[in-house]
Subunit: 263 residues, 2 copies
């Protein structure tokens, strides 16, 4: 089943109105030049926001394909939870691209590259990852394409996505209950004042459907970063006994969430 991507199904870039689906650029070229689609053919198009459209082609050129929307299926190939993965850039860009592709296949909604104090790579380009996520979503028959945020520092991420600093109760569980959102930070060092539970246990004890997981760089999160995260509602977890690379740790976190909701 060949899927096309049209981020703007109400778009007007080829001078058509609503109820139409437009393919441009690579999507149009692939549709017409590679797959040889012609007017009258039925194609499947995702809008990247969870909807799959069945469309009949009206006009087909390598630059622009116009199609009539015949039917729409919402929440097509979506998953019953919302997962945000904050993952430090890997030294080798391929490894991050691989993680993004696999996380999309398994199920992820939002990816934020986070730069930690121990990050060796501090520059990150999101454009390439966006392309990979689009093709992974098409390949794995998902109507929704995960979003990629601009890179930010670990502390900015914590302050933006964590809970407001709690006044009294300082246990991670207490903080975590503030808004029913499960926030996890995976790091490798031992800290007696703050024992880590396994990601599996943290997920088993959780009843909601919104999860964020922070995965650090090869040099791990700094103690200050871990402390700040815990103060803002992130539960410290470990990913088991194996020593995992950053991208493997990130996929392992995605799998742990995937298994929690597996029938």
């Amino acid at each position: 089943m060949e899927i096309f991507y049209s981020p703007d199904t109400e778009g007007n870039r080829c001078g058509t109105g609503s109820g139409r689906c437009i393919l441009t650029d690579d999507e149009a070229a692939h549709c017409v030049k590679v797959l040889r689609h012609k007017a009258g053919d039925i194609i499947s198009v995702i809008n990247g926001k969870g909807t799959m459209y069945s469309c009949r082609i009206l006009s087909a050129s390598p630059r622009c394909v116009e199609a009539d929307i015949l039917s729409a299926e919402e929440n097509w190939g979506t998953h019953p939870y919302r997962l945000h993965l904050a993952v430090a850039p890997t030294k080798n860009a391929d490894r991050y691209e691989w993680f993004a592709e696999k996380a999309c296949e398994i199920g992820v909604d939002e990816i934020t590259p986070v730069i930690g104090r121990h990050s060796e790579r501090k520059i990150f380009k999101t454009a390439r990852i966006e392309k990979i996520l689009i093709s992974a979503a098409k390949q794995s028959l998902k109507g929704s394409v995960p979003s990629v945020n601009a890179p930010m520092s670990v502390s900015d991420f914590i302050l933006k996505y964590g809970t407001p600093e709690p006044a009294g109760d300082n246990t991670p569980e207490g903080q975590n209950l503030q808004d029913g959102h499960l926030r996890l930070i995976a790091y490798c060092f031992e800290d007696e004042s703050r024992p880590r539970i396994s990601v599996r246990q943290a997920l088993e004890e959780y009843n909601g459907d919104e999860v964020s997981v922070m995965i650090g760089p090869e040099g791990d999160f700094s103690r200050e970063e871990a402390e700040l995260a815990v103060r803002h509602g992130f539960i410290p977890v470990h990913l088991g006994a194996s020593r995992l690379r950053t991208e493997t740790a990130a996929v392992t976190a995605a799998e742990a969430v995937y298994f929690k909701w597996m029938d």
Copy 2:
């Protein structure tokens, strides 16, 4: 922590006797040329069979490093289960190499490339995968290097590693109890006569520590292959709602087993 690999710690390739550890070829070159180790330095060496040796270098040349074994740690970085993954070759060899690296990081003991009726790629070279597994084991601090078997057909794999065909009881569970070894086959098609359970459920219901999982090619296993597998004790499972590539399915199976034994 830099780990070296010496598959034969009692070896004699440089004319030394027992109680010595020998690095040759790439390992010796890496030790001497790249890391500039000299006589007297202490190095860590795995034998690929689960033991890590702490050694003091006696003589160092780019072709051969001889070292005295000071201490040995058995079951170093090993996992509490035995996992055999039978995975069909992917069209793109990189994807299989990636799976092998990740499965090793997570925890796997044996990999068999299985060629199915719907396999597009029927030729497979194990040498490259063996190299990748050695470097992944070193990188993830595991004393044991997973073994890679020669490729075989799906039916040969089933006849070699499945249970003898059961006389009476024909339920997968019944067969599975024959030797306490959990055998799973993951395929995508629906078969009312043989409903699949999730890999997670199959693992939850299992009390042993020896698991085999068969993962098919992009074109899936044939119905005949699935039927033969079930007759020989393999329980039909699914890997959840997501449509996963072969290599992602294989890693997902490794993660499912990893999570079962996660504290």
